[in-house]
Amino acid sequence: MTKGNGTFRIGTGAGFSADRLDPAVDLAQRGELHAMVLECLGERTVAFAHRDRMADPRRGYNGLLERRMRALLPACRDTGMLIVTNMGAANPRAAAERTRDTARALGISGLQIACIEGDDVTKLVRPDQPYMDEPGSLADIGRPIVGMNAYLGADAILPALEAGADVVIGGRLADPSMYLAPLMRHHGWRGSDLAKLGAGTLVGHLMECGMQITGGYFADPGIKDVPDLAGCGYPIAEVSADGSAVITKLPETGGCVSEATVKEQLLYEVHDPARYLTPDVTADFSRVIVKDLGKDRVQIGGAGGNARPEKLKVTVGYDAGLLAEAGVSYAGPGAAARGRLAAEIVVTRLKETHGIKAPLRVDVIGAGSLFATAGKTRADGEDVRLHVALRTTDREQAELMLWEVESLLCCGPAGGGGYRGVITAAVETKSVLIDRSLVKPTFEVLVT
């Protein structure tokens, strides 16, 4: 299927901030797409971006923006493909200016780059606003707040599309809304047509994590084998005017699209399947149909829609101090016992000798780590790694933890090696709600 038979071809060029680029370039060149969406923002990503912007007002957008645009803009020019992205993160204007400069350097003239702002609601949220989904309020945080962003919907993106934008760059644009807006414009769906909004939201939800629907996050060798995962292709949705769609991928790419890959993504990060909340609609995925057409083509449809939520969700990011992590490895006979002894030593040294009370966790990787809290550990690991993690706002404490783990090389159990330690800045997030009337998205078009 190609452009021109009424269906809208929309592809994904990134499903998270660090997603691959070369398959996106392949899709842009060969995919005959009307639009490509690059979804690059998580809750903590935007908080980290705010910190980047505080350090340098010219930064605060996705660190891969320039590389991605340099690789994708030529295809955008050659094919007329629209690009929609939230790579602007905490600084959509700087991202749009950088994209304009990149386009100019590539010799692309007449490109219209829309910058959407208004998601930064730091000045609009009450300092004691209650949390959305847990007891307490913003007044309880007690740490410096780095930024607050409201999730913007398709209604914030549509005016830029109507103004003829070739590239749309925003910050906290809701993931499925970046797909829904171009679909609404192409097919003439109105904001009152809730079933269509639900259908378009289903497409966006399935597509927004990129390769998670084309074989990524899926393979289990011998049980769920995926061909050529190293060469996995990004997904394409061929969306009809009635909202039904076919999910597929380019020929000669790795991965697979099947009923199984689509079903796993259908309820990914979904709670009640009948109530999936976005800024645009309360989507109903409970009666969705999924039909394998063969050859990496899966038909979807049957999503419903109800009235959109009255308020918008806001992510509040704040400085959470430091995360310190350090490790040492043990191998051979008795490795698990030596690893556990090392763990006991570290806990004693940090808690009793140094009096550290900050949250501390010690795992013996290979003898039970990810599932340790679930009660699943094993005694017989022969290649294990002590892993120590500490959250603290005190850099000296963080450094002391690393020191203690490194000291195990001489002072701990026999045969320990391979020490590594790292201290990283931590941000945490909370969610609150804001009245829609307070959030006023704007757009401006920069032309190369």
């Binding site: 903590r44 989904d133 847990e134 996050y217 899926f218 289990d220 049980i223 769920k224 199984a260 079903k263 796993e264 993504q265 259908l266 309820l267 990914y268 990060e269 979904v270 709670h271 009640d272 399947p273 409970s286 009666r287 969705v288 149909i289 999924v290 959470a320 949250p359 501390l360 966790r361 795992d363 990787i365 780590s369 990810l370 599932f371 340790a372 809290t373 679930a374 009660g375 699943k376 892993h387 993690a389 500490l390 959250r391 945490e428 997030t429 969610s431």
Partner: protein, 115 residues
């Protein structure tokens, strides 16, 4: 999983596939049978009560089970199941991406001796 004979199947992984996602301190795992004939067995095995009983230290909140009958799937929503969530957890897997394999590792409730 058609290669396995019915009496050789022990784990949920032998009849179903799953994916885990996170929102705050809530984990959800969706689980789908390969063969619709196994859906009753999946529903009998993966109950909210069983999850609470198997993982009391991990799953501290309410477990809600949504059944998608026509697609032969279950969506398990487990409250307070991420050790504080990605913000606070010191688990290496702070998103609980691997929780899908906690569920797939459960023994099937065949109604016989295995439990």
């Amino acid at each position: 999983m058609t290669e396995l004979k019915r009496n050789e199947r022990l784990l949920v992984r032998d009849i179903a596939h799953a994916r885990a996602g996170d929102k705050g301190n809530t984990s959800n795992v969706n689980i789908w049978v390969y063969d619709s004939e196994d859906f009753e067995l999946l529903k009998r095995t993966v109950t909210a009560e069983r999850i609470k009983r198997e993982f009391p230290s991990l799953v501290r909140g309410t477990v809600t089970r949504y059944v998608i009958e026509h697609l032969h799937g279950i969506n398990l929503v487990m409250g307070e199941a991420l050790e504080g969530g990605v913000n606070a957890s010191l688990n290496l897997d702070s998103h609980g991406k691997s929780w899908s394999y906690l569920i797939l590792g459960l023994t099937l409730d065949t109604g016989e001796t295995i439990r």
